[in-house]
Symmetry: C2
Subunit: 133 residues, 2 copies
Amino acid sequence: MLKFTTKAEYSLRAMAILAKNYKKTAVSLAKIAREEKISKVYLEQLFSKLKKNHLVTANKGVNGGYILLRSPENVSAADIIEATEGSLEPFYCVSPKGNCCAKKGCLTRKMWIKVHQGIKITLENTKLSDLIK
Amino acid sequence: MLKFTTKAEYSLRAMAILAKNYKKTAVSLAKIAREEKISKVYLEQLFSKLKKNHLVTANKGVNGGYILLRSPENVSAADIIEATEGSLEPFYCVSPKGNCCAKKGCLTRKMWIKVHQGIKITLENTKLSDLIK
DNA sequence: TAAAAACCTAGTAAAATACTAGGTTTTAGT
DNA sequence: ACTAAAACCTAGTATTTTACTAGGTTTTTA
């Protein structure tokens, strides 16, 4: 029904906490889970993706946790949501791979692409630093 | 994963066919189902919603079918998608009813509202007449 | 009166979502 | 060296949503 899932919301909130601690301390998922009342293991799954996308790095062991790799001014909501939710494309045929209709003059494709652009611009213009203000 | 479903795509395509026959003939769901290769009964469910939302009217019986109630210039993609998919809100807390976080200063709500506005504007500016051009 | 249309409700298979269970590996402090 | 706390990993699962199907009834026109 055109909804972002909890993956987007949870990862934004968790990353906002890392942003608040940027250049100070690493933050453990246990702490984030407690503060935001999110399943810790679910957070682990999200952070695995955030790490693969080079948005965070991690320290293992006591006093370990996650750290932002870039400053909060340089991490957008689009970066985070694309990492955890997948693409921002609002319909399958927007993708160049999605050849559902691209060949014959597809009625709706242009519109979906416009919607995609709109979503992308808004989320790219929203930085972690904006969220924690 | 922020995807419109087939409900949006199917109803847009079906409505485009009605638009092409505007002021000419009623079009049966059997015909649309054949042309667009969509389940007829699934289309019935979508058209039940389109009718409830006063976008179409129907004639029963032989040579019956559906007819646009407004001209293709006056029906937007937003009208159609809101009728069949539900709201265009990209996250639950955008709704005034969604009091998930509205009370305390919610980090993400403002951003979701911007995304919503962007989607809405694009879909409102796309009319059935644009789709069939 | 028969065919073709809308109209209606309930059920269902498949996919996605949002988790949990139950580990291992690594590291810091004692 | 030991222990606790952290990341890291894989598989399973309950719930919800999606995209239908089944099996009708009612209305209208030729």
